[in-house]
């Protein structure tokens, strides 16, 4: 099935709130070898002016992937997940993701392109707190490999 090009510009409803936990921040930081104490020790994080421990720079992918899943699981989008390869990822942090945040994501399909049998889908997830404070803009490009 071909990827649905008419999805360009489509926006999905906000995701259910993601509760950012201290232990998840620590677990993720450890998994990528991020040893800055600001991910681990809330006393030192507060000494640097943060409310609590903050997430390492790519933690937002946990929430962005939840946003992307709305598109991938949309039957009308025509995306075969077993053929999806991550092509590109970008984060713009408006402020660090902090333990205690409740974050919702709004997914927009920025572009859908067909090229050489493959499809390239660029999505943008605007992550903000449930109070509406912008936290991070995550942009992903997914490459959907064509069939043989």
């Amino acid at each position: 099935m071909a990827v649905n090009v008419s999805f360009t510009g489509r926006t999905y409803p906000p995701t259910a709130p993601y509760s950012v936990g201290r232990e998840k921040i620590r677990e993720f930081a450890e998994a990528v070898g991020a040893h800055d104490v600001v991910h681990i020790d809330q006393v030192q994080a507060r000494a640097r002016g943060y409310r609590d421990v903050i997430a390492s720079p790519t933690f937002a992918v946990l929430i962005a992937q939840k946003c992307d899943r709305q598109l991938i699981e949309d039957p009308e989008a025509g995306i075969d997940f077993s053929r999806v390869v991550h092509g590109e990822q970008r984060f713009v942090h408006h402020r660090p993701i902090t333990a205690g945040d409740e974050i919702v994501g709004v997914l927009t399909v920025d572009s859908v392109k067909q090229a050489g049998g493959h499809a390239m889908v660029t999505t943008r997830s605007e992550l903000s707190t449930t109070e509406g404070e912008p936290v991070c803009t995550a942009t992903s490009t997914l490459v959907i490999r064509g069939g043989e």
């Binding site: 998840k24 677990e27 993720f28 450890e30 998994a31 990528v32 070898g33 991020a34 040893h35 800055d36 104490v37 600001v38 991910h39 030192q44 000494a47 640097r48 943060y50 903050i54 390492s56 720079p57 790519t58 992918v61 946990l62 992937q65 077993s82 390869v85 991550h86 092509g87 590109e88 990822q89 970008r90 984060f91 713009v92 942090h93 660090p96 942009t139 490009t141």
Partner: protein, 143 residues
């Protein structure tokens, strides 16, 4: 780990960041699979990876991306100072069972903006002769 954030007066274009070699084992990938919830079997199941045409298990692109930025966070002195970070995933990092894989991460200051106190860092991540991240760029706010 120093608490002092790197000052703009100590940064200039062309400056090299302390490089680092990331050793990736199967255990690293299993740990990242759990932490990231990206449980795609190509990252931990050799038999499955081969069945879909890969040479072996490959690392999550996001694992490489998430690990490479540490040289920037540690250089600037506070991970919260990384305000932008993006990359392309140009080549997979193949992780054999016995040897694992080594990714060499280097970085160079490409631009410094005195008005916004921001520095742009170009990162390189090499696995052998393969450039595994493309156009990897981070922006930090300096002290």
């Amino acid at each position: 780990m120093s608490n002092a954030v790197l000052s703009i007066s100590d940064v200039e274009v062309g400056q090299e960041l302390p490089p680092r070699t990331i050793h990736i084992s199967r255990a690293s990938l299993v740990q990242y699979t759990g932490a990231s919830l990206d449980r795609n079997r190509i990252h931990w199941d050799e038999r499955f990876a081969r069945s879909v045409g890969l040479p072996d298990v490959i690392a999550h692109g996001m694992f490489t991306m998430g690990s490479a930025i540490n040289i920037v966070s540690d250089w600037v002195g506070d991970a919260g100072r990384v305000v932008e970070y993006g990359t392309r995933f140009t080549k997979p990092v193949v992780v054999p069972y016995e040897s694992g894989a080594d990714v060499e991460v280097t970085g160079i200051v490409a631009a410094v903006d005195a008005q916004t106190r921001r520095a742009t860092v170009d990162l390189q991540a090499m696995c052998g002769t393969d450039k595994v991240l493309g156009r990897a760029v981070a922006v930090v706010v300096l002290g």
